[in-house]
């Protein structure tokens, strides 16, 4: 909602989607109708920082900033968008982390395949105990996610040129 107060150099469409949890269904038809040139999905993602003997990934951690999804089972983020939003974080001093890339799935999974394809990226607020009756996030992650979305979107014009070598 905070992004709606911003003014960007491009047409900005905010979609509040339905039926994500049962198969990313609302996002697909919304993207078909709106024909976006790029898509940013804002999400909440798991931070599985439960005590464990094994030194394996917690996926994300609370308090380490918004989680960028470079890929997950539902999609591969467009490398130009990953670059633009990473740079936005570094240059604006907003912390961010990279989510563990083999779990989850978001609306980007259906949006990026609509029509001839839509360059997509997901950024997420880390939270513990998701998909249980309680979730817990760190307020600083929430504010940093909004800030990163804003800074990244500001840099969007120019980020999506012709795909050349390396992208």
């Amino acid at each position: 909602m905070s992004l709606l107060a911003e003014r960007f150099e491009f047409d900005f469409v905010a979609a509040f989607t339905v039926q994500e949890e049962v198969g990313l269904r609302g996002a697909r038809v919304a993207a078909w109708a709106e024909k976006p040139d790029a898509a940013l999905v804002l999400e909440c993602t798991g931070a599985n920082e439960v005590p464990s003997k094994r030194d394996v990934s917690p996926s994300t951690r609370l308090g380490h900033g918004p989680a960028l999804t470079v890929r997950d089972p539902s999609f591969v983020a467009d490398p130009r968008l990953v670059e633009a939003f990473s740079r936005a974080g570094s240059e604006s001093g907003i912390p961010y982390q990279v989510k563990q890339p083999t779990i989850g799935g978001t609306d980007a999974g259906s949006i990026h395949r609509v029509r001839e394809g839509v360059p997509s990226l997901t950024i997420a607020v880390p939270a513990r105990y998701i998909h249980s009756p309680v979730s817990m996030m760190d307020l600083s992650d929430f504010h940093h996610t909004a800030a990163l979305a804003r800074e990244g979107l500001t840099r969007l014009p120019g980020a999506l040129g012709e795909r050349g070598a390396g992208t």
Binding site: V76, P101, T102, E116, G117, R163, A165, G166
Partner: protein, 336 residues
Amino acid sequence: MKDLIRSLTECWGPSGHEAGVRELIRGMIPRGFESRVDTMGNLIAHRPAPAGGRQAGRGRRIMLAAHMDEIGIVVTHVDQKGFLRFGSVGGVMPLPLTGGRVQFESGFLGVIGLERLEDSSRVPSLDRFFIDVGATSPADCPVKVGDVASFHRSCEEIGSRITAKAMDDRIGCAVLLQAMKELDSSPHDLWFVFTVQEEIGLRGAGTSGYGVEPEIALAVDVTFTGDTPEAAPMAVSLGAGPAVKIKDGGMLAHAGVKDWLLATAQAAGIPCQREVLLRGTTDASAIQVSRAGVPAGCLSIPARYVHSPSEVVDFGDVQGCVRLLLPALRGPVDIG
């Protein structure tokens, strides 16, 4: 053509990271084709029908697809001692992994190791493996979470066969490139598409099928064989010629497209096989259901040990695919 196969299979390009393969192929596209890269990263090479060809009703809008991506791994975690944990990009099988080598985009190599197992008679899951990149801590580790790697394996000849990583589906890319080079004349509006992200859900084929909007589509990809010791029954063998797909796990080939290929092979005296594959599918299944539907089929190159680091094809089968595609595309196409 063997040099072409070598350069394509040894090129680095797990799903979602096909840029290097795309540039390699783009540099080899023959004169007469115009190429562009679409939103998803598919490379689309187009040669219009000759003047009058389509108006005379002889030429069709035909799309041929081979995927540029290969399976690989993606880093999920760097532990305190600098070892990597990883997940699969596409259908990676745990069995052939231990002791194998992987390569990251930057060129760094890693060796795959395996935890001590309580029961070594059972195939372990991927989360029991790790990668050693020579690091001792996260601080000196040259790769990070989200980086992807391919198998690291050279392309070699063994008898009349060729073995390499990523034969699936760079061999299809090689067949398309060779056919583009040799196809002197055709009445058709031809679209050769080198797709992305096939191994993770036929994603590039779906969007390029939408973009190209073909009248007829043909994928060129590998298929399994049933000719190895105690193999699952399958009536496809290495060295018996290209295989014309009847069906696979995701598609029934359009009967007219299938018959077009079989009749062309018979008329040209090219030995070929009929393929019924019970699992797996190809780009053709995604193109088939794009927009309002596309008559689609698949020309398959028989391959052993698919999705292992050493896939094996027969060079005669590969040449047979090219020899079959040329007359198929030179004449009028009637798919009923």
